[in-house]
Symmetry: C2
Subunit: 162 residues, 2 copies
Amino acid sequence: MPTHHKGPEEERIALDAFIKLFRAADSLNRRLSAGLARAALSAPQFGVLETLLHLGPLCQKDLARKHLRSGANMTMVVDNLERRGLVERVRGEKDRRFTTVHLTPAGRRLITRTFPPHARAITEVFSVLTKEEQIHLAHLCRRLGVAALGGSGEPGAEDNTR
Amino acid sequence: MPTHHKGPEEERIALDAFIKLFRAADSLNRRLSAGLARAALSAPQFGVLETLLHLGPLCQKDLARKHLRSGANMTMVVDNLERRGLVERVRGEKDRRFTTVHLTPAGRRLITRTFPPHARAITEVFSVLTKEEQIHLAHLCRRLGVAALGGSGEPGAEDNTR
DNA sequence: CAGGAATAATTCAACCTTAAATCGTCTTTA
DNA sequence: TAAAGACGATTTAAGGTTGAATTATTCCTG
């Protein structure tokens, strides 16, 4: 949405960038979700499977932290993946508070064949920008993300933002 | 999340930019939602009130289109705003299929005093980037958003992306 | 070692989001 | 003008998201 705000220049420029950033993320999300829908996966479900594939089994706390989501949310997403037989919960032996989430063979098969076309779709959309522009965009977004988190938050927050 | 994908350079760069774009939008969203929470407004509710303030009364279809959301979703958000007495539904006189959504005095008062600090918060976060960087970021995001929407969608889609 | 603090997971209530089905209201057209 | 189609809004079912309260387990401390 165009800004419709008549404030000073600094504010106009920031609001304009803000809106375009969100629109880009939103449109990208829609496009990619359409691709994932063919595997009947939601974006969060895909994200969890992808993380398990590339990092190995993790407890829900760690999964939530990696995805910047709440623990309650991770319980729900893992519930839905487990119900479809794509992951398995394993109670911690040493510390029974933890449940480690594992890919099942079916889950591994699904994410293994879903990830490559997903990555290709991202690459294809981003190819409207040159390599240098993509790197520049990443750099600007990283600084912005750090500023958004850091500003009035606790300094002890985990980085995870390289 | 760092990429953990060992594909060709083009893919690595695109995935990296993709992740940082989403992290930035996510972090920004969290930061701003915290501000809106003091007015007990969700981000979608704030968005609708803001649109009504700056564009005047609109029917739900138009509100949904402006925010790139479904009609069903707009029914829900307007329901919640109406229940709090911040907006009012008015049945179309000429064409009774439409309901036009109006700000109530209370709604106008709330959004009028909520918008300025919100805009200031956005401007403050974006001030980690120079004016030129903000303009460049907006430009890159706009091109990316258009590419994400356009690629395999219908060419007839409304622009709304300047 | 016993009680209290901390911690991982779950449950709950509230809201957001979508696609699909339905309802009421026009508009078109045969 | 009556049937058919289009169109705005609503409902429904399914999933995502959060913060707050709860549960089970472990750790710490006196």
